[in-house]
Structure formats: C-alpha cells, structure tokens
C-alpha cells in the first residue's frame, strides 16, 4: 500500500533516530493510524514488511496500546477519562451522559461515521478533572453543559 509523502518523509527520518528498526514501530503505527483512520490489514502487512517483523508481532503491539485500533472509528473519537481523579469529580455521570447523547456504548461509532466514543484511563489531565480528549485535543473541567457545547462545535465541523 502507499502512504502520503509526509508519512514517508517522517518514516525515513524516524529510522535514523533509533538504533534498530523495530524501535520505530510504535510511532509508525500512530502516524499510519492518523493517516488511514485505523490500522488496516494492509497497513499492518506493509509496516511488518518494512520493519522486518512478523505481522503477529505488529498485532501484539497494537493490541497492547488502547490508543491503537484495527477497527475504523468515527472522524471524531471522544475519549472520556473515567480514572480516579475524574471519577471523584463526576466523570461517571459525564460518561453516562455521553453514552445517552450519542445512543452509543463504549467503542461504538455513529452510523454516519462521524463520532465514536470511548471510556479511557487517565489521560494526564487530573488537575483539571474531569477531562476528555477528542482526537488529540484536550477538554477540561467538564460539566454536562460544557460537554454539549463542545460536542456541538464538532458537529458543526463534521
């Protein structure tokens, strides 16, 4: 399969940063996922070949990291933290609210492919709990209202 020239440029550069090829695996997977939306079978085969790993090896690593996925998800992936600090500040209710609002459950995607939701472990924003991440953007000190406003913003973009 072919990736974009930007991907190729990054990939070539990354190879020079690490002592061995296999070390490049995790960032490569992330970039590939950003580009394709998820880690397709073709992408896995391609990356395994480039890094001289077995496909099994690549899949093992993907399955280890919850940020990596082999299934397509929405254009906007809403990740609500339900770890300890956020729970103490109402993340449970927020997650309930999120599920109801979309009519989805953990790791499900809207039929139009725009949104998927996910319950995640600590995203490192405890000081501003409760927090969530939509793709790479952080949203903090959430309330249900604030959550709705933020999501409306994404809906407009969608």
């Amino acid at each position: 399969m072919t990736f974009s020239p930007e991907f190729e440029q990054r990939f070539t550069e990354m190879l020079t940063h690490y002592p061995s090829k296999r070390s490049v695996l995790v960032p490569t997977l992330l970039y590939a996922q950003d580009e394709v939306g998820y880690l397709s079978d073709e992408a896995i085969t391609e990356i395994a070949q480039r890094l001289q790993l077995t496909e099994l090896d690549v899949r093992n690593v993907i399955s280890y990291y919850s940020m990596l996925t082999t299934k397509p998800r929405g254009k906007y992936n809403v990740q609500v933290c339900t770890n300890i600090a956020c729970i103490l500040r109402g993340a449970d209710d927020l997650w309930e609210h999120c599920q109801k609002k979309f009519g989805l459950r953990h790791k499900q995607t809207t039929p139009d492919g725009q949104f998927s939701i996910e319950e995640v472990e600590c995203i490192g924003a405890c000081s501003w709990a409760p927090a969530m991440q939509v793709n790479y953007d952080f949203h903090e000190n959430l309330t249900k209202d604030k959550f709705d406003t933020i999501l409306d913003g994404y809906k407009k973009k969608a």
Binding site: T54, E55, L56, N60
Partner: protein, 780 residues
Amino acid sequence: MPDVNITVDGKKVTAPAGTLLIEACKTVGIEVPAFCYYPGLSLQGACRMCLVKVEKMPKLQTACTTVISEGMAVTTDHEEIHQARKSMVELLLGNHPLDCPVCDAGGECELQDMTFSYGASESKYTEAKNHKEEQQWSPVVFFDRPRCILCYRCVRVCDEAMDVAALGIQNRGSGSVIAPNMGDHLDCEECGMCIDICPVGALTSGAYRYKTRPWEMNHVATACTHCGDGCKTTLGVRRSETGMEIVRGDNRDKSGPNGDFLCVKGRYAFDFANRTDRLTQPLVRRNGKLVPVTWDEALTYVGQKLAEIRSQSGGASMGVIGSNRTTNEENYLLQKFARVVLQTNNIDHQRTADFAAFAAALAGRPDATASAREVFDAPAILLIGNDPTEQHPLLAYQIRNNVRLHKARLYVVNSESVKLRRQATLFSQIPSGSEAAFAAFLAGGDVANGANRDEWNALRDQLRKETGLVIAFGSELRGASIASLNKFALSVQGAKLICLADYANSRGAADMGVYPDLLPGYVPLIQGSKFKAEWGTLPDAAGLTLPGMVDAAKSCKLKALLVVGANPVFRMKLDPATFANSFLVVQDLFLSETAAVADVVLPAASAYEKSGTFTNTYGDVQLVKQAGEITGTKSDFEIIVRIAERMGYDVAKLVPFGSGSRADMGQSRGAQSGEADRHAVWLEAQGLELKMNPFDPTAVFDEIQRLVPGYQVSRLNLMAGNDQHTRLDQNGGGAVGDPALIQPANDGLFSSGSTGRYSKTLNTVMENRNRVEMPKVAAD
C-alpha cells in the same frame, strides 16, 4: 569466569560469575519455584514465584533474574516468602477454571504442585470467572485460554528455540492472551514444543488430549524411529485391545542429545504403530492370493523353500534387502544370516548417504566425527547441502541454539535459501549440483567459474582460521567429494565431520555391513579373516548391489529375495511384476507395495516394539527399548533366527547366546575395580547368571562389540540410557563405490518414508496445510 561465593539458607555456594541465583541454588539442591523461568530461554520475570530474600536488599527479589554477587546471603524459606508465593498462586487461581479432573496436565501440572506446596485454598475473589471456549489452532495444537497462567514460555520457545515465532501475546495485563500467528490458527512447524513446555494444561496436543490420565501410563525411554538424528524420547504407553498402545512422546527429562526437543515426527508420528491395519498374521500366497496362515506354517515354508533354492541354485541366486529402520543387532544378524546361512554376499539396503566412502576417507583418523551433542557446543559449523530444518530437525535445533546461546559462527553453503541462513554468519548460495565442486575447491582446488571466486576464497580463508569446526554435509557429497572434504578438514585444527543420512538407523545399516562388498565395520570382504575365524567360510566375491539384484530379478537370475523393512517397489518405482520369478519374502509392518506382490509376508514388530540399539547419523549409538506391543507380530530379529533354524542351521552359531554379557559392568580402576567380575562369579556360582535365549539382541551386541572396534563404547553408560559416540577410525577401509547408489529419500518435516505414510498425525497435518494453502512460515 571467576567464581563467586554466596550463601543460600546457610549453605555455601560457589558458582561462576554471571550465574543466575536460581541456577546457583540448584547446585546445592535447593529448588526455587518458578513458572516463567526456563533454562535456555530469555528471562521474563513475569510470575513472581521465585521470590527470595537477599540480605541488604529492601524487597523480595526474583531469583530468576538476579545475578549472584560476592558475599550475597540468600534465604529461600521464610514466612514472608511463603506469603508472597501464596498470594501469587491465589491471583493465578483467581480466574483459573480448576478443571483438574479432566485436564490433560492433571497430576503433572506445575500449578497444581505449586498450590499444593504453598496453598491458596481460599480466595478473596467473588467475581464470576471469565470463561472462553477451547480453540483448535492446528491439527495438533489446542488452546484452552482459562487455564493459561501467562508464563510466556510457549511464546519464547517458539520464537527463540524454534525460530518460528508463531505465537504472540495480545492485549495486556490480566486481559493478555496467547495468540497464534494466523489470527485463529497456526502456520508453524507443529513441533509441539509449546505444548510440552506449558506448565499447565493450557496448550494441549491433538494426539494426547483427553485420552488418558498421566498416572495410567507406563513410561519407556527409547529413540525416535524417524529421521537420522536419533532423538531420545520417553513414550507414554497404555494397555489397549491390540496389546500396548503408545499415547505420548516427549523428552521432559532432557536426557539424550536432544534435551527436551522433539520435532513433529518424534512427538506424534509414533501413531503409525497403533494403526489397526497393521499386519498381525503371516500371509502366504496360495492360488495367486495372499492368505493368512500360522507362524509355524509360514516359517517352515520359508525355511524349506530357501534351503531348497540354496541347494539347487546356490547362494549367488539369492538376495537380501535390509532396512534403514531395524536395529543394529537386526542389521548385523541379517547380513550374517545372508553370508553364513544363505551363503551369499547379495545384500544391500537403500543407501541415503555414502557412509562407505565416509569410512574410507576417515580410516585411521581418530576423533574425526562429531556427535549430535557436539553440534550444540562447537565454536563454528560449516553446513554444505541438505536442509536440516526439514530433513534433520534436531541438527537444525542444535545449530540454531548454539548460535543463539553460544554465539557460534555458522557458514551455510547451499543451492536453496534454506531457513538456517537466518542464523548464518555467512551464507553462500551456489548453483544446484555444484556442491562437489565446492568440496574440491575447499580441498585446495581453484574456482573454474569466476562468479563465486571471491566469495569462495574469502570463505575458505575464514574457515581455515577456525578451530574445532564441525562440518556437516548432505548426500549431495558422495565418494571422492567426501575425501576432498576430509582433506580440507585436516587443514583446520580440530575439525570434525558429520555425514547426513535420512533414517533412524541408516548409519547402523552401514556400520553393520548391510553391503554387498563390506563386512560389519566397513571391512572389505578380502580383509575379513577375523569374521571367517568366528563364522566359518564366507563367499569371497562381492555380491550384487540393490539395483544389481533388481536387474537379476528382471532377467530371472534371482531365485529368492528376502526383503526386511524396506519397500523397493515403491521407493525405486519398480514394475510390481519385477519379482514375479523370484521367491519373495517380505518382513514388514504393513502390506506395502512390495509386500503385496510377495510369496510370503511376515508381520514384523516396529522399532517401538523391540529392543536393541540404533546409531544415529552422527554415529551416536543409543538403546532402543520396547514400549508398545502388537499381538501377532515378531521382531525382525526373531524372524531371522527362526528362518535360519527352519533351514536347519544351528542358531547358536548365528546368535552366540548362552554366555554371559561382557564383564565391564563395573569400575575398572580404584578400590572397587573388579567388583562386577566378582559379582558375575558369584552369580555363576549360584546358578543365576544371565540365561540368554537365541532371540536376545544383547548376545549379538556382544559380538558386535567384539568384532567392530568402533563400537567398543561403555556398555554401562549405554545400558543406563546414554548415547555413546562410536568411532569410525578403528574400522575397516570402507569403499568408494558408484555415487548413483546413493538415493536420498528427500523426506521433509512432515513425511517419513513408508512409516510416515501410515501416520495419521502427519497425514492430517499435511492435509491441513494443503487445505489452508498456507503462505510461507511467517517468520521465514
């Protein structure tokens, strides 16, 4: 390495620097429990069972990853340690199904043992257990997820020891699960190492699962009957309707040259012996049809016919074809039978390597051959031809792990890009058929074609700098090429050679003189005076080779042919009518293509059903012990003796029974020297000396040890189940014959000549591979 002193539970321990604490403890008999640690595999530190107290260290330490250091004081038995281990067991049992009563591992499970030792009978968990259905990953590998304790031994053995890397770990934490490389099934070498190494019953084998309880089996240590590598195996046997049935093969005690390794054939392909279509009654052709008769009838008939043909047409009109899978004693006896009873030198076997030329090249050169064990320790290895991964799985395993664990340098010269190139320091791909040219080049020749010149020159220079080089070569090299290779070996300090042949006792057939021109120990006929002294007169002229006998049969000159454990009609693609004018007697397990056209078929016991010795392709002789038993069959040994007897021959001359065994069963030096002799004298005085019958193979082994100097190995070690390296240098001069006589079988990992064709496991594995149309092994 300098030694380091530590104390463990008050005992002083001295071990080389770099030793792991868990190993140091073993040397003084202290066993530290471990699930994930496995000698020879990379360290995992996952299970925390091996926790011990080390003075001046704040927390309990994992003995499996701690390297000893001077003055270390270690406690392995302490309340705190017990508590920690108990907690680990409790956690492991948290989601364990505890279906021990039906689990294959029940009774020999490390988790059961650990729970028994440390107890964790109560659990703080009240959550429902997570159930997952058992999965079948291949015809022989099954996985039961809930039983898995995530020690990752299977993943490491497959990746590191096998270089297949077919198993991985998906997800993480308590959700981790062992995964096969093809999503829901395996594409792998089916060696079963993962199943064998699994401490619990999570990985189970298609051949054995839910068949028996471990304590219902008897265990018999013997040798594998398939390829020429001679792995030691322990067979689990159980009574069955037909006699004794083999249900499992493994080598858990790591004795023998193979440690715990067995390939798919050794581990599962004993099943040909259990087939219900085994021959169990002698058959005699009457009115064109093979009909069952009693043993007595069949033997009498064969004896009379052979005696009649011998007196009418002479020994030269008779022939014998021997086997690559009968014991040394049987091979020896067969050629002696041919020479002294039938009075013919028309005896040969399907030669898969040129041992006669090998013996000729090495005559008089001591320490010129390497044992299977030495391959694992040699500093450097040169492999010419052959594909050990397919044809000599143990050799491949030894080489691979020598490179991995001891950093041996491997040089591979092959016409195919064989898998072992992955371990090679240097891989030279040469045109098919140019192996002989390469051997000549090594011996000092020059390269005719320019293409490889620089590469070959560099390789030869590098090889000459090695010491203790082990050179293994396939049947691509024969005759004069072997001599060239030996000439080169002489120029490398401490170099040793290995000649690779295909079957379990191919080497034994050659060593025991199943040749038309060589007596046991590669002694040419004209130099056979010591044999004549023992056996009486022998025919002097060289006999017919295997193709020679076939030609003689075609031209109606071969009046009688005895075929023992061979299938020339199939192997040589002969017209079944070839032997129409010969009195054909076949001893075999199944009604093979050759047996189907015989006049008399005698049902033979397989090598799992008899005793004796095998010599692997390296020259290591090993004990073969009877494990199974099929009612109605007889060992080839007994059949030959009985035929001789029916021919009116005095069997005491054939099998020197009645005497005691050689008196070297005790110490030859020191205070207790002579002990065994004193014991023998006492036994004799009490009338209790060994009473051997004419079917006792040890009587023939006595004669072998007497007449074949290369076999003068320690009888005591051999009987104790250890492989003993025989020597070629003290043998006769060998012979350099027609290279076309060498016909390698080219069996792969999943085939094994005629016995392999009758193995259900091998057949299902092959069918499965064809059906799934597997891509190449993922890691290849």
